[in-house]
């Protein structure tokens, strides 16, 4: 469990995180979404005590992470896969981390095998691809078998097979009752990964809800219609109180009316249809709308 209370971080005059209050619960994969520069990484760094909040507080399993003398037992974090020394081997890097936290050395080989790096254990990290570094970072996060796991943009550089594997891993970790908090600036990545979403923009909370609730926001389907009788059909639809827009000579876009009902009306009024398609707004668009709103809102903010 991660409890974030009124968390604020200012750098000089710039506010990176602004009064954020969120609880990240165990047993779920929680997606942490926001456009670039929204304050995601800063928030994650404050969770693991690398950065000190300007105001507010954040606790992991009930206490600030900075007060744990050893960290890997409580929180596993992959914040940036490049935060390693390229001159060390994968196993050298993990052995030092394990030793600092009194984790048995055998665990190093275990996590390397788990992330699929067993064959690369003795190779220098400097020669790793970004995907391999991500896997190494995940291995480091798993080292202490912690109850809370944080991942900042974990999909960067992973091949499709790797993406699928990471998703499976996150779900498994959550199913084991752990808290899994994953940041991303791409909704499409979270759609198949998270079951809860925390969305921020310009350091402020925009949404904190389940993926299904978030999806429900975005069900505002439009139906596009192609018909040689476009003008007449638009008239018929308007008489029914439906919003219609002409998008071409023979095409219309209908809002707030299911495709089936549009088809029924066409049938009743003997209108010939060439096309009838439903366009659900994607989660991606919902996310864009939401964050775009926040940007507009903040643009007028006298700060």
């Amino acid at each position: 469990m991660i409890e974030i209370q009124e968390l604020t971080k200012r750098y000089g005059g710039k506010t990176a995180v602004d009064g954020l209050t969120v609880t990240v619960r165990p047993g779920h994969v929680t997606g942490f979404l926001g456009p670039n520069g929204a304050g995601k990484s800063t928030t994650l760094r404050m969770i693991i005590g690398l950065n000190r909040p300007t105001g507010g507080s954040v606790t992991v399993q009930g206490r600030p992470h900075a007060s744990n003398p050893r960290g890997l037992w409580y929180v596993g974090a992959l914040l940036d896969a490049s935060e390693v020394h390229g001159g060390r081997s994968a196993s050298g890097h993990l052995r030092a981390l394990a030793r600092s936290n009194d984790i048995p050395r055998a665990r190093v080989a275990e996590v390397l095998a788990q992330v699929g790096l067993a064959d690369a254990a003795n190779r220098r990290i400097g020669g790793f691809s970004l995907g391999m570094k991500q896997r190494l970072g995940i291995a480091a996060a798993l080292l202490g078998d912690p109850q809370v796991l944080l991942f900042d943009e974990p999909f960067n550089g992973l091949d499709p097979e790797g993406v699928r594997w990471v998703r499976g891993l996150f779900r498994q970790l959550a199913a084991e009752g752990r808290t899994v908090f994953v940041s991303s600036h791409l909704m499409s990545e979270m759609q198949h990964t998270a079951d809860h979403l925390v969305v921020i923009g310009r350091g402020r909370l925009i949404a904190d809800e389940s993926l299904s609730d978030f999806a429900a926001r975005s069900v505002r389907p439009t139906v596009s219609v192609a018909t040689p009788d476009a003008v007449r059909f638009a008239e018929i639809l308007r008489e029914q109180g439906v919003r219609v827009q002409s998008t071409g000579v023979q095409t219309l876009e209908v809002a707030d009316l299911a495709a089936a009902r549009v088809g029924e009306l066409a049938f009743t009024h003997r209108v010939q249809l060439h096309e009838l398609t439903t366009h659900a707004t994607s989660l991606e668009e919902a996310f864009m709308d939401l964050t775009a709103d926040s940007v507009e809102y903040l643009a007028g903010d006298p700060r």
Binding site: R45, S67, D80, S82, L97, S100, E110, V115, F128, D145
Partner: protein, 287 residues
């Protein structure tokens, strides 16, 4: 990347769930030890430093060996102990040792900032002061050994060369042990100073520049004996080094006004201040 196909996930052994974490300082020192020697560059840095320092010493001893027959009777009369002791570990070698140990020491801290590994380190061990203290303990140990080895070998080899002219002296000679200890301690002190600069500056290149300024440029600029210059000069580790080998009432150039105790205090003060800075400063800042 070829062979990183994902294995089927098997339930992981759960050491953490069944054990309480033990918090032991020696684990941190051991982790730093692993970090130090898991970098190939470490071995080469130490070897290169040893090669340069020993080379400089042997060359100067060889020079005295070659020139000895031409030295005046006056010089020969005082060759043992003054010149012989000077050859045991000469000033050039002291400078080189200070620069090399300072650079390697600084690198212990600054390479973590340079690669941003420091974030991984501090997330894994939020007790930052303990991490830095472990680095200090490790560096002190490693550089005491390194300094003792280099200075010991220098002393033995240089005096062996001079003894071919019957102009060498043994470690039992009054003052000889003090000279070697003072020289050997330059290594850990320079390393600690390097670490402190690294912990404050956090930028590799800037750290190296400051090290050179402190150990080479400043002492070189303060050769005049105006009061302020002299005061600063006498607070420099390399000046303290220059005083410590002196035997009895030495006359001649050098930091004459400085007492032996003053010189040891300068050594101790640099070490203590460096340790405090290294341990305290990183804990107070965002990384």
């Amino acid at each position: 990347m070829t062979t990183t196909t994902a294995p089927t996930l098997t339930p992981v052994e759960r050491p953490a769930a069944t054990r309480t974490p033990r918090v032991r300082f020696r684990d941190l020192v051991a982790a730093e030890w692993i970090k130090l020697w898991s970098l190939r560059s470490t071995k080469w840095s130490f070897l290169a430093a040893a090669f340069v320092v020993l080379g400089e010493n042997l060359l100067s001893a060889w020079g005295d060996y070659s020139n000895y027959p031409d030295y005046s009777a006056k010089i020969k009369a005082v060759f043992v102990p003054y010149w012989a002791l000077g050859d045991a570990f000469n000033d050039g070698s002291a400078f080189l040792l200070v620069i090399a140990a300072g650079a390697i020491g600084a690198n212990l801290v600054v390479n973590e900032y340079g690669t941003r590994l420091i974030r991984t380190t501090f997330a894994a061990v939020p007790a930052r002061r303990s991490v830095m203290a472990a680095k200090v303990v490790l560096a002190t140990g490693v550089f005491v050994v390194f300094g003792a080895l280099i200075v010991g070998v220098s002393f033995w080899a240089d005096e062996a060369i001079l003894s071919l002219r019957h102009a060498g002296l043994s470690i039992g000679y009054p003052g000889a042990l003090r000279v070697t200890v003072a020289a050997a301690l330059l290594a850990p002190i320079a390393a600690l100073i390097g670490m402190a600069i690294g912990a404050v500056v956090r930028h590799p290149a800037t750290t190296m520049v400051l090290l050179i300024v402190l150990n080479v440029v400043v002492p070189a600029l303060l050769l005049d004996q105006r009061r302020l210059s002299a005061t600063i000069d006498e607070a420099m580790p390399i000046t303290a080094w220059a005083r410590l080998p002196a035997i009895g009432d030495q006359t001649g150039p050098g930091p004459i006004g400085m007492s032996m105790a003053h010189a040891w205090i300068v050594y101790a003060a640099w070490a203590v201040v460096s340790v405090i800075v290294t341990v305290v400063v990183p804990a107070r800042r965002d990384v």
